[in-house]
Every structure is written in structure tokens, then in C-alpha cells.
Symmetry: C2
Subunit: 536 residues, 2 copies
């Protein structure tokens, strides 16, 4: 039997989020990333989406390691929920990533994970068949890596989330020479981040973002309220430096930012000069020009600090007309309206908002390579086969167009779905039949199978409301409406109508069906809605 590599995407394709890819050779499997996905408004009551781990559960014994590329939730968030279920594999990651994952595990009271700390260019073996060389990539969280995975039949390169920032803030740029050398040695397949495959040009260097923020802070006449992603440690570091330079005190607001600053202190990530950081409750002891507040809540999340400030519900911060509010962030797709609402409320209170679209073009840089960078990566690595990962089909398809324009034949590019396994020998690639995947979610703190019919029912009751007819006795009928506004006069009339219907049709199965139908039509004519009707 000739040996083959299988590449099994279990999450992060057809979508942005819940990244997870398994790579199998003979009796060895390695898993790269185990993230969560962010459910949209179409999935009410769902906290997280999880990768589908059917295949990993069936092949637990083969799993030699879980490798993590970096500490973002869409790469580590699934570990607390799924690590036990896939056979408790050892976890390989960089120091910061381990620290962040430890926090997540502790939160969920998961103990016993065996960690191996890895560093760029420090090779290690896994099982009988894999040699892994992590390599440093720049991303919007420090200590991100990609992996060169050497197997008996060739090398794979998995980029993780990356960009070629020529001037990053507190880390070196990506070592392109190293990638070129890897490329010289014949790469069988490249798996590369497609998030920004639709965005022309190159990402803005992080140091330039710093310069823009510096000029905003130096010109601000009042306080600066600054919000960014809490794991964007390089950005937060730059803001601390800028405040030091302009003699502003820094106060922090919001759990996730506080957590980041704690981590920075614990790992000695950067130096926070004494006296620079003040307690949020003390901001009123300083004049406005001497204050910058770093707050969490870039996405308009309902209970975040920025949202509470916008709604005038924050206990310590209320907007002043001279405030400059900087959104050093971008919208996660689906959050556009929430963010706009928050910004609109802040403007209404007289603040000046600086954010990406216009003047603020310089206040944020994405963590993901844009088209010119993606092109260069393909040129450096020159793989035989190309598999775009991390993105909806639209992004994956664009990424393949880029690869084609760099000379990789379309036949050697693969737009995979989750569960679609690709099997490679040195010269041949076979697409195996798509595996059935069980869609998993976290809801109420528990891992559950996503039931589409339940979600449909939830959306339906939200759209139409519920009406309950409860017959207490043959004479007494109670009608209750959920999610519906019905005037008292109509409620009384409706009770009479229901009593009549119950009398004529009875409460057996057929009778109930008839009552529901007729009462539904009645309500439609009276209140313009046909809710879900329950008869007791």
C-alpha cells in the first residue's frame, strides 16, 4: 500500500471562523487549530459554533498533537469544549498562545492539558511521520506562527493567519528568505489564509497605524477614548508608548482589555512605566487632555464598555462634547449595524468619532494579508498543490484566481468544503467523498448538536409570536400572548371566539388542528399576525 497524506478540513472553510484542519499520514494525525465560530443573528441562542469532530473522535488514537497557530478565539476557543472528546492530545503552541489558552481552559475548569512550548524555526517530531518547523508570521496578535510540515512524501506549508507587514510594531517582519528556501525545496501543498483575498493591495504597516494614532492623540483637545481588539497587544503597546510621549494617563475599561493588560504584566510583554496606568475611577482627578481610556467593545456587543458608554449606562464614563473616540478596529461581518448604532449614539452626545472609512483609514490595519501579499506568498512557496483555507467560498475562489495568475494550474487548486478530504501522493491528488459532519455548537455552556428545526422554530416564534389558549374549565378560558401586542378589547373578544371554537371542535387531535387554523385566521384579521398557537 503506497502511503498518502490526507488533508481533512473540519472547520474554517465555507466560512470565517472555527478553524480546524487535520492532517493524516499512515497512523499519525495532527490537528491544526481548534477554534470557535461566531454565530450570526440567524442562530439565536447559540453562543459559539464548533468544528465538527466526528472524524477525530473516531480516530482519537492516531492523534499525536494539537498544534495552535495563535491565540485568537477562532483558533483556540474550541479547545475547552472539545479537547477531552478528541482524546486529550498534547498541545503545541508559543508561549503567549499557551498563556491565553490556559486562561480559557481555567475559565471552563478544564485541567490536565499537556503543553509543549514551541518557537519559530525550532523543529520537532510528531509520531513516526511528521517533522514540524514553526515559522514566525505577523498577525494582529503576537507570537503567531505557521507550520512547515515535513512528511515522507513531501512538505506541506500551513500559514496560519498572517500578513507581510514590513514595519510591524513589536515583532520582526516575516522571514521571506526562509519561505523562499522552503519553496526551493519543493513544497507539495500550500494552505494559506484567504480572509482578505478580496482586498486589493497590501495591509497598512502597524507602525504607520501607530503614527496616525500618535497624531490624533497629540491633536485631541479633550479626552481620547480608544477602542481596539483586546488581543491586539502590539496596538495597545503603541498606545501606551504614545500616551507616555504625550503625557496622558491611561485608564482601562472592560473585562477583556483588563485581562490583556494583566497578561502583559504577567509575561512582561512590554514595560508599563510607573504612574502611566491609572485606575478608571480616578480619571476625574486629571484634566481631560491628560486622559486616554482604552475601552473594549469594538463590535457593538450589547454589554460591552463602548455600548454601555453609548447608551449612557456606564457607571464611570460618560461622553463629553470634546471627547475624541477612536475605533481602531474593523467590523466582523454581521456586526455592521450594531457598530453603527453605537457610533451614532456617541455622535449624538457630541463626541468626535474616528474610525476606518474616511479620515480614520489609518487607525486600523487588518491582521490578514491582502491580494498583493497573498500573491507574494505563493511566489515564495511555489507549491505543487494549492489549498486556500480560512474564508467563505467567495474568498477561497478569489484566492484560487490569484494562485492561477501566479502560474498554478487550476487543476492543482482545490476549493474544499469542510469535511471534504483531499488525499495526496507525490503525483496524484484524489478528492474523497465528503464526510458527514455533525454541526456542533455551544449553547448554555454545553456542547450540543445544532438542530436546524429548533433554530427554525426559534426564528418563527420571534417573527410571529406565540398564542396560548388554556381552557381552565368549560366556562373559563385564558388566552396568553408572547411577543405580540394585543389590545385588551381584542383579548376579551378573542377569548369568546376561542371558547366557541373549543365548544364546536373539542380538544382531540383533529379538533385542536381545526381550532388552530380557525383561530389563526381570526387573529390574522384582527391583529395582522398568525402566531404559533397552542391549545391546552
Amino acid at each position: 500500500m503506497s502511503k498518502k497524506i490526507k488533508i481533512i478540513p473540519l472547520g474554517g472553510l465555507e466560512e470565517v471562523g472555527k478553524n480546524c484542519i487535520a492532517i493524516e499520514y499512515s497512523k499519525d494525525i495532527i490537528v491544526i487549530d481548534l477554534g470557535v465560530g461566531f454565530p450570526s443573528f440567524e442562530l439565536p441562542g447559540v453562543k459559539w459554533l464548533l468544528p465538527s469532530i466526528d472524524y477525530l473522535q473516531k480516530n482519537k488514537k492516531k492523534i499525536k498533537a494539537l498544534l495552535i497557530t495563535h491565540g485568537h478565539l477562532d483558533h483556540i476557543g474550541g479547545v475547552p469544549y472539545l479537547w477531552k472528546k478528541i482524546g486529550k492530545p498534547p498541545v503545541y503552541a508559543t508561549e503567549l498562545t499557551i498563556a491565553m489558552l490556559r486562561d480559557r481552559l481555567q475559565e471552563k475548569k478544564i485541567y490536565g492539558v499537556k503543553f509543549f512550548q514551541i518557537s519559530p524555526k525550532q523543529k520537532f517530531r510528531l509520531g513516526a511521520n511528521f517533522t514540524i518547523t514553526p515559522f514566525h508570521v505577523v498577525h494582529n496578535i503576537p507570537e503567531s506562527v505557521g507550520f512547515v510540515i515535513k512528511t515522507p512524501i513531501g512538505k506541506l506549508v500551513h500559514t496560519g493567519d498572517w500578513k507581510f507587514d514590513k514595519d510591524p510594531a513589536d515583532q520582526p517582519p516575516v522571514d521571506k528568505k526562509f519561505l523562499k528556501k522552503i519553496g526551493d525545496s519543493n513544497v507539495l501543498a500550500l494552505l494559506s489564509d484567504s480572509t482578505n483575498a478580496e482586498v486589493p493591495g497590501k495591509t497598512l504597516p502597524e507602525k504607520e497605524v501607530g503614527n496616525t494614532i500618535d497624531s490624533i492623540v497629540s491633536q485631541a483637545k479633550g479626552r481620547v477614548i480608544f477602542t481596539s481588539f483586546s488581543s491586539l497587544i502590539s496596538r495597545i503597546h503603541q498606545v501606551f508608548d504614545i500616551c507616555k510621549k504625550h503625557k496622558r494617563k491611561v485608564a482601562i475599561a472592560g473585562f477583556s482589555i483588563i485581562q490583556t493588560v494583566e497578561l502583559v504584566k504577567k509575561l512582561n510583554y512590554f514595560d508599563i512605566p510607573k504612574g502611566l496606568l491609572i485606575n478608571l475611577k480616578d480619571i476625574h482627578n486629571y484634566s481631560d487632555q491628560d486622559i486616554l481610556i482604552i475601552a473594549s467593545g469594538t463590535q457593538g456587543e450589547p454589554n460591552s464598555t463602548m455600548t454601555r458608554i453609548a447608551k449612557q449606562e456606564h457607571e464611570k464614563i460618560s461622553v463629553k462634547p470634546n471627547d475624541t473616540i477612536v475605533f481602531s478596529s474593523s467590523a466582523i461581518p454581521g456586526n455592521e449595524l450594531l457598530i453603527q448604532k453605537v457610533m451614532d449614539c456617541l455622535i449624538d452626545q457630541g463626541a468626535d468619532i474616528i474610525y476606518k472609512p474616511v479620515l480614520g483609514a489609518g487607525v486600523h490595519s487588518s491582521g490578514h494579508a491582502c491580494r498583493e501579499e497573498l500573491r507574494e506568498m505563493i511566489d515564495l512557496v511555489r507549491p505543487k498543490f494549492f489549498i486556500p483555507i480560512e474564508g467563505g467560498n467567495r474568498m477561497l475562489a478569489e484566492h484560487i484566481k490569484i494562485a492561477q495568475s501566479q502560474g498554478i494550474d487550476k487543476k492543482r487548486c482545490f476549493l474544499l468544503n469542510n469535511g471534504e478530504t483531499i488525499q495526496m501522493s507525490q503525483n496524484k491528488v484524489t478528492l474523497l467523498k465528503k464526510k458527514n459532519l455533525t454541526p456542533l455548537i455551544v449553547s448554555g455552556g454545553k456542547v450540543k448538536t445544532l438542530k436546524r428545526n429548533i433554530i427554525k422554530e426559534r426564528l418563527e416564534i420571534a417573527r410571529s409570536g406565540v398564542c396560548i389558549i388554556n381552557q381552565k374549565s368549560s366556562q373559563k378560558i385564558e388566552i396568553l400572548f408572547l411577543g405580540l401586542f394585543v389590545e385588551d378589547a381584542i383579548i376579551k373578544q378573542a377569548a369568546k371566539k376561542a371558547k366557541k371554537l373549543l365548544k364546536s371542535h373539542g380538544k382531540n387531535k383533529k379538533g385542536r388542528r381545526e381550532i388552530k387554523k380557525r383561530f389563526g385566521d381570526y387573529l390574522l384579521s384582527k391583529i395582522g399576525k398568525k402566531p404559533i398557537i397552542l391549545v391546552f
Copy 2:
């Protein structure tokens, strides 16, 4: 008593959509536009948002006319619902706008509207105090106008939705000389469209969009499926011309596009050569290269043609691997995820998608002026006072920054909320106390007051589900779950638990409260959810 103008925005500020502004002088009121707003996922079960008409209802008798700038729903959609309530004023609009509004009115069976057809530069008087001069503007629907409103104390300019397209497809460009002349004659206030105040540069000329589509169609190896906004008649006209040139037959799919083509024929809007338009069911009689389908559904709407094609549910169209699918459109904020899902499904079936972000940058042009155009409008009109309209606060604030950079003092720029009346004499402006507005919606075909607590309840039941405990007799208990997945074993156990709770606490008010609390905790521990609990 010195006379003053009141400008009363009733919709379209703090938001995109449901445009409506009233202008009052002495005993005369004119109303400009009466549109609908598009509810987001935060308002389940709501069909449309409507402008708040409290003030118009109170002052019905003063209303001399409803002026409509153009035929988009966010400008005409409220008329069928509100026209009677505001005293049935006569409606002034251009021919096409009237035709479109007539269709809407007929749909809702509203008769008796008195229409006055207007034309650019044809002055007319309204009441004792207003002289109106409509002027042609370019927008993504033909026959759009703005208004110069002459009053005894000065001129107002209301732009409607506009852009300075230097090369529009089937209409002349905006007459800048006319605007300059108006500007020369002292304009008291300019009210200008802010939708794209965050977008740098200028809009792409519509003819260039046509050229791009031409080259896509000429290069397409198989069928072309083309989707755009159904009211974008110029674009549809261009597509017909392109198909004629390249000898492709045109088939149309989807109610709204069919309606547009009917209207085009009825008004003789442009010539459709004989034999060019074929029946959708006949597409299979032609080879793929000879077919272009214009389909509706740019926004991923659940039952639209494009969505049904994507879901493989369309009875006449299924994707073929050589299809080129062109989205000649942009996302209405809030629809991004729905659109992406549709595109992803189409790609999955092997289609090549061309849309805005990357290669498709040329396949759509917005109907709203971008920053450079907004700047030029302000320079031409040179108003004393500036009131940005049509946009969320963020856009309005950006528009004011543009006005300032063109020399209009910040004190003479007004960022208004809906209901915030501005009162102007020749030299003085007063901001009146904000009026209380009743938020109106359409739900179940009826105009209703938006009840925030009902919406909150709907979202809550969608998130948490509902559990109903029904005590049929002292021994028999039925438990029912809505929007929750609960295994049979747990349902049985839960019934026992409920029976016990009912026995100990009874069903009076206090007892029920106690049962709800305890049973909620019980469910939380068992299924990880605390639903809304009802006890009968």
C-alpha cells in the same frame, strides 16, 4: 409676528431609510418624501419602518402637498400606509415616479390620490408661500429630482438622492450651471443626501459600468446570470443593449424585474427589439453562450430568485459550471451575511461570481454622491445654513466636516435627529425642543406603533425558548418546549420535577413565581438553558 421657516425631519436622519421631511411656513406645510425603512434582524416580524407622522396628523389642514423626489421605496413606500392619515394631500412627482407609486397604491388598494406630474425646471406654486422648482438629478433610478423651494424669507435646496455622474446611461448629467445660478441668488439652506459621505472620491460613471458589463458578457463562455436592483432601469437598459450587440437572448426571472420590464414597455421607456426578450422556460432551446438571465435578489432575500437558484430550489434555473454570475449591486447594510451565503452556495455549484469587491469593482456604481461630489455641491449652492439629510449620524457628521472644509462655519451646520425642528428667519436659527415621535411600523399588513417591550420579548423567546407546564389534573402534567431541543428522558424527568414543584408551591401568584424560578434553575442544570416558563 415675524415669519419663520420650520424644517421638521420626520424620518431619514439617524438612519438610512424612511425619508420624510416637512417644511412649514405660516399656514403652509409641504412634505417631501414618505418612505419606508428596512428593519434589521433586531426587529423580527416587522415588515417596514415608517416615518413618525404625529406632527403631520396634528397639522393635516396645513399640508398643501406631498412632493416625491424619486420612486425608490425609501421615498415612496410609506404613501400607501400613511397618505390617508395625513389628510390625503395631492402628490407631486415625475411621470415614472407616479407610475411606480401607482403600482404600490394599487397593490394596497388605495385609491383617490390626486397626482400632479412635474418636470425639471417647471416651476409651480404651493399654498400662499412656496414656489417650487424641481431640478433633474442623476440617481440609480430615472426621473429623480431635487427641489428649490422659494419662500418669503429665502430659498431652500433639497437635493433628494443624487450624484454628479458625468456619463450617465440614459439621462443627462446634472445641470451644474443651474445649481451655480441658484447658488448665486443666495440660498438660505441646503439639505443634501449624506449616504456616501464616508466614501472618498467620486462615483463611477454609469456608462463605464456598462463597458465593464459589456466586456464580461463578451468574454463569458457560458450563460450569464445578471442580478441588479430592479429599479435600476438605466442598468437594465444597458444590459439589453449589450445583449443585442452580442446576440444573446434575454430572459427575466423574478417578480420585481418582471414588473420593471412591464413598466418600461408601458411607458415606452426604452426600445426592446423584437425577439431579444425570450420566455424563461425557453432558455433551454438556446446554447448557453446565447443566453443572459436578468434575475432579482441582490440582497440574499430568503425567497428571491437568486436565493432560490443558490439553494437549488428554482424551478427553471440551476447553476451550470460555466455560468458567469454578475452581482451588479452592493450590500444594503445588514444584508452582508445573507448575500455572502448566497454567493458561497453559487460558487459551490461551480459558477464564477463577479461582484463588487475585487475584479467586479466596475460592475456597480452607487446612486449616491461620494465625498468629492458632495464637496462640489456645497461649492455650487453656497448655502448660509447646511443640514445634511439621509444618513446615520456618522454619515451626517462626516458630511458636516466636508461642509466645514468648504468654508461653512460649524455653527451654521446642523446635525439633526428625527423630530428635531429647526426654525429659521433670515438671520437666525433656533433649534426647537425635540418633538415626541411615535415610532410606526408595518407588521402583518397593518400600521402599528412599535412596542419596544414586545420586540424585546420576541428576541428573548428566540434566544431562550419557551417552556410550558400544563397541569391537566393533580396527577397529570404535560410539558411543552418551543425552540428548545430536549431529550425524551429529560422531558419525563422534568415532568416529575414539575409535579413536585406544583404540589409544594401551588398555582397562586407567589407559587407560580417560585415554580418558575426553581424549574428554571433545574432546566439550566439539565439543558443549559433557562427558557421563559409559563405555568397553567
